[in-house]
Symmetry: C2
Subunit: 79 residues, 2 copies
């Protein structure tokens, strides 16, 4: 019951980190999708939390964002 795993929302964490890292790189949703070899609407679906993304696609997103997979599920520090 520790570490708030019961209330953690994996889709929300992924969406938030994906959007933040994508904007840091200056990519549109469509361009990032193209870089990762996805359909052009797929990044939008992930950021809107409507896609039940697979681990293989999570890995592809991490690769194009140049971060470890764990970074996509880390809650951003406040301040």
């Amino acid at each position: 019951m520790t570490k708030s795993s019961k209330t953690e929302d994996a889709r929300a964490l992924l969406a938030s980190n994906l959007q933040r890292l994508r904007l840091e790189l200056g990519h549109s949703q469509e361009h990032l999708a193209e870089l990762a070899g996805f359909h052009r609407t797929y990044v939008s679906q992930v950021e809107r939390r409507v896609a039940n993304v697979t681990i293989d696609n999570i890995q592809r997103l991490a690769a194009v964002l140049e971060v470890p997979v764990a970074a996509l599920f880390t809650a951003e520090k406040s301040g």
Copy 2:
């Protein structure tokens, strides 16, 4: 190109952390699957890296293991 994201293997990280955390809790693969509401062979499939697990199921695994999702993708420190 930093942080070795190109060579990171998300299925391998998940499999390794899942097995380690499961054994720390003293659960069989079948029992953990039952706790998470999966088919009894599903945890075995994830630990053998044959399943392309979805983010929703990753969250369920993290919940029964009582860890944050990020902990399932963190490489174990050596030593």
